[in-house]
Each structure stands twice: as C-alpha cells, then as structure tokens.
Symmetry: C2
Subunit: 370 residues, 2 copies
C-alpha cells in the first residue's frame, strides 16, 4: 500500500532539493494534494521547504523540498577488513556526522560492541533522531543477522547487538550494498538491470533489477566468484573447482607469477596490477581476460544493460582496458555485440558499501514513516 506521502518522501530522498512543483508532477498529484501532503509531512517533521534559486521564468516561484532539520536520521555502518565506520545520514543521503576507527586486530564481537557504543553516542548527540541502522559487512549475513566473514576469521558474530533489532535494521554484504548505492547515486542510476562486481579478497557483486537489489533466498546472492568460469583444474577454498574468483583475484596473480599466496591479497594485487614490469603486466592481462570473459557470460545470462566494477576491478579496468574489452566482446552473444552494455568503474569507490547501507536502511524506514 504505497501512499502519496511515501511516494513524495521517496522522490525527495532520491533527489533532495527537488522543487515542490516538480515533485508534485512526478508523483502525479495536483497542487491541492501537494499543499495537503507537504503540510502534513512538515507537521510530522519529515520535510521542510527551502528557498529556490530564481529560475528566471515567469510564474509564482516554488520552494525546494529538503529534509526537516529535526527529521529522522539513519545510522549507516560499514565494517571492512581493516576498519569500521558509522555515518549519520539524513533524508536525501547527506552525511551529518561520522565516527570510526581501525579494527586493530579485535574480534567481531568487540568490534560490534565498539560500533554499538558509537551509535549510542551519535544517537544522544542527535536527540534520538536516529531511527534505524544499515550495516555493511565483508562477508555473508544470514537471516538471524549473524555474520560470517572468513577473511577476518569471524564466525557467528551477532550484528543485532549493534542496535535494537525491533527497529529498522538492515544488514548486507558489502558488494550487495555497493551495488545498491551505485544504482541509486552512482553511474547505474536509470539502468534497467545493473550488474555490479567487486573484486577484493574474492569476487562478489549483485544484480539490481529495476532498482531492487536481488538478495537471494538466504541473503547470499551475488557470489559470482563461485560460478565456474575459471580453470577447472584450480580448486577454490570453497571446495569447488573452476571458480571464477580464483581466476581474477590476488591469488590468481600470485599463481600466475609463481609467488606464494599473499597474506594481504588486496594490496598485493593492487601492487601487481599497477606495476610497469612486463611479468606482472602479463599476469594482469591474463586476469583481465578472465574478468572480461566472465562479465560477458553474466551479461548474456542476466541481460544487464550496465556493468560497474568496484574494488580491484577499478584498477584492472585502468591497467588493462583492452584485454577486458576484447574478452568481454568476444564472449557476448551475437545480437548483443552491436551495442555491448558499458563496463564502467563504480562512481562511489570505497564509499559504495556504506552508502548502500544508508540507502537500504532509508528504503526500509521510508515504508514505516507514514
């Protein structure tokens, strides 16, 4: 049951500062209904009106719809392999405050406790305006909000300790959330089916179909790194053979170069990819080819109209654009080759996951506000 009020809030969230007249046209109501809606949402401390720059056109000037200065806020949190961070985000996506620190080798429960304390502090500072939380984590999240992050060695970490679970609470994989953010505030805005791929220690990603991120039956969708596009002779830590991830991440580069498996595969890979020497460049080219070929397979199967790359994918796209493009176009079905869906670096970069956590939490909260 989508009410006009919720639709209006969604429009303002998608483009804060939209003029009131434009917003009314977008949701298809007349000026009468707009007056009633804006009045009601102002009373509820959800929206406020601000001045607009003079348009120069004729007619009565309209106002800009902005988040209410005492309106609800979302805490967006992100845990990465090296640090955690919390942002306080208002309607429209602006960040009002932030906090965070390095993991410093602490365990999952300790980190969640530190995060929770930071959220409580921020909540007091903002007069209890924070109404929900979104958390991005570098691993899988199961329904009961337990996190498994094999890279960090964390298992069954209780994310619900970060926030009273009864309120708006969303948690998701970093790649999934980065995809969400990219489709709403990045280069994938307007794409019908956006595919986001994120290479870090492994390869993950997500599909965004008409603005909705596909999370899968268990919340574990987007594990494209475990589709068998790779070398069938290579065994993946997951137990299967031929996983695509083993052909495109740091371990693949180390294998190609005859190195030991690196302790920090991300910075190792970044070093190799950006190295000017011929041997690393050849390994990078091989990995870029494997990446392009797999992207083509996913585009064929999922009919995406845009692909964005995050994490090391950005470095690969910068270092070996030709190899990626060649393998990508060769792998496309004939009818797609005339106009291959673009493969672009993600616009939001490292802020993708936390921005996605904010977006998903706001989406969840918006359905509850009215």
């Amino acid at each position: 049951m989508t009410t006009r009020a919720t639709e209006l809030l969604r429009v303002v969230h998608a483009r804060p500062g939209v003029t009131r007249a434009d917003a009314a046209r977008m949701i298809g109501v007349g000026t009468g209904a707009a007056t009633e809606l804006v009045g009601r949402l102002g009373q509820a401390q959800l929206l406020a009106e601000g001045p607009t720059a003079p348009s120069g056109a004729r007619g009565r000037p309209t106002t800009a719809l902005i988040p209410h200065p005492r309106g609800p806020l979302i805490a967006a949190a992100s845990i990465t392999h090296e640090s955690w961070r919390v942002d306080v985000v208002e309607l429209g996506g602006s960040v009002l405050a932030t906090a965070g620190e390095d993991l410093a080798g602490r365990g999952g429960d300790e980190v969640v406790a530190a995060l929770s304390a930071a959220v409580q502090r921020l909540r007091r500072e903002h007069g209890d305006r924070i109404r929900g939380i979104g958390i991005s984590v570098p691993g899988t999240v199961s329904r009961d909000l337990m996190l498994d992050a094999s890279q960090l060695g964390w298992h069954d970490v209780d994310l619900a300790a970060a926030w009273p679970r009864a309120e708006t609470f969303v948690a998701g994989n970093d790649a999934t959330l980065a995809a969400s953010a990219e489709s709403r505030r990045g280069v994938a805005v307007g794409a019908a089916v956006a595919l986001h791929l994120r290479i870090e220690a492994g390869l993950g990603g997500a599909v965004v179909d008409g603005g909705r991120v596909l999370i899968g039956a268990l919340g574990a969708s987007g594990e494209f790194g475990h589709m068998p596009f790779g070398d069938p002779a290579v065994r993946c830590p997951c137990g299967a053979y031929g996983c695509w991830g083993t052909a495109v991440d740091g371990s693949a580069l180390a294998r190609l170069l005859g190195h030991e498996p690196p302790r920090d595969p991300v910075s190792y890979a970044r070093r190799i990819i950006n190295s000017p020497e011929p041997e690393p460049a050849a390994a990078t080219a091989a990995v870029a080819t494997a990446l392009g070929r797999g992207i083509a397979g996913l585009v064929n199967g999922l009919d995406a109209d845009l692909v964005t790359l995050g994490g090391l994918g950005v470095d690969l796209l910068a270092a070996a654009p030709g190899q990626i493009a060649t393998a990508y176009e060769a792998g496309l079905m004939a009818f797609r080759r005339a106009a291959p869906p673009p493969v672009l670096p993600a616009l939001l970069g490292d802020d993708g996951p936390i921005a996605g956590a904010a977006e998903e939490a706001w989406t969840a909260l918006l359905t509850r506000l009215i």
Copy 2:
C-alpha cells in the same frame, strides 16, 4: 497503488474457490470490509460466490469465491517449434476453451494471422469477455513486440498483429513464461528464488525472485545457455566459445557420439537420452554432468532455493539422476552443501509456457480491472 479490491482478486486468482472468510483474513480486512468488497466485485461481474462443502465445524457457513460466470477472460497463446495453440483462461487459471493446429511449415506472419483469427473467433464465442492476451514464443521478444525465433527461421514477426496492442498484451520467451507458471502453479510455489531451466534446441530459463520473473533490460534474460560453463574449445552458433548450451543439448550428444548435427535436435536428444545402449548412455552421462555443474554455478551466484528443469531436462533428470546430483553437489560452495537446494522436474511439463502466458496476462490485467 494496490487497493484491497485488487488484493482480493489476486488472492482468488492464486487460489480459486478460497472461502470468503479466509480471503478476508489473508488480505487483513474485517467482515464489514469483506461484505463491501465482495459486493462491489460481484456488481462489477468479477467475482461470484458459490457454496462450500460443509466444514463440520461450528459457526455460520461461509461461501467460496469463484470467478464470475460473465467475468473477464484472458487468451493465452503459445507458439512452439511445431504448433500453435490458444487457450481461453478465466480468473483462477481454469481453461474454458482451446484452439490450435500444426505450423505445417508456414511463416511467422501467417501463423500470427491464423492465431489472431482464432482469438477473434473465441472472442465472439465468449461475448467479448476476453480482455487481454499473453503469448509464449520460442525465441526472443523485443520491446516493440517483434519476435525473433532463429530455430524457426523467423525474424521480425509482428506479434502485435495478434491483438489490438492497446489492451492488455504481454509476450515472452517460452522458458521465461514456463518459469513464471512453475512459480505460481507448479513445484516452485513458495520458493524465495526459483531457477527454472529448460532444455530444448538450446538452453534457456529464468529466475523468479519473490514471485517476479526477471525479464532483463531487453527482455532477453535467462539465456543461461550462453554462459561459459562449457568446453572453451567449442564454438557456439552465437559466436562465443564455451557456451554451456553447447554442452547440454542435442548438438552436444551428437558431438560426443560422432554423429552429424541432427535436423530435429529435440527428438534426436530424447531418443539418445532414453536409449539403453552403453554408448548413448555414456554421452548422456557426460551431458548430465555438464548440466549439474552449471546448475551449481547458477545456484552459487544467484542463491536460488529451488531449481526446476523443463523440456529435455526432465528426461535427463530421469535418465541420469546420479550424474546430475554428483556434479551439482561438487560444484556448490561449501556452505550450501549441507542443504543443497532441490533440483526437480517441472510440474507443468509442456503446458508450462502457455500457463505462464496466462499468468502474466492475468497479472497485467488484474492491475487494470479496478
């Protein structure tokens, strides 16, 4: 904007004959609203009430909600590689009448014209109650409703000639629509993410996420046969190498057996798969292994909780269940292996595509009725 009336119609469509009291509970309205809703929808000739079998329990007996005898109907059409057919389908999915004939080598425009004539005849016979059409085709459908079916040698066939385009009109790929039907009236009812795969001349399918079929940016989603799970040395007619489809369809069996590419790959494959001889059985086993491995990759990436197989997939599942299961489980990520999502034959069989056409057309029509 989903109104209660539309919700009620959807409930009755999903389970015709539901009792009025149950339906009211399902959509969360009281008895007062139920009276008003059922009365209004009866006036509009959309719903009727019928007797219920005595429940044996105490209390005032309720009535069953059934489609109105003069209510709207949908024409569901299906074109296969050998014939076409039209069903007249009422709310709830019952088929009231049917028509069809063999293609007999005719071209696409002639077949669409014959189909259109049949629809007009059925429409007259049913007093103009037919309010929309859904068409299943063995090929890709583009936005402007042009069909390309390479198997039939048809290109740019104008499907809109079958029906005035302004009314409810949906067209889709047979595998996509079979997936839709399976998720609503087949074994995939209730699945969070259902993956349907259909092997005929090629390999196609679809993902159904929370009841919504993913159609892709161009309506060409589900071409899983062109994901590179196959032998990288084999060139696909699509131009790419290593397409999965080339490893699981009739052409794969012919290649493994040293036969010429068969003229009718479907009946050829069915003959090989069901042959008791050792050589065909070995080829069947190899194909089953390729199928299982690819299914695992898709389940890993898309996090499906159920996989259904249609077309030749049913034969393969019957002939080589062990090979499929072994390759499937070996290809799953470690954490999925404890409870692998079931791989089942599709319940609707050859009626899947036409049933899906009816479902999608009814879904589209239901949003317009009230």
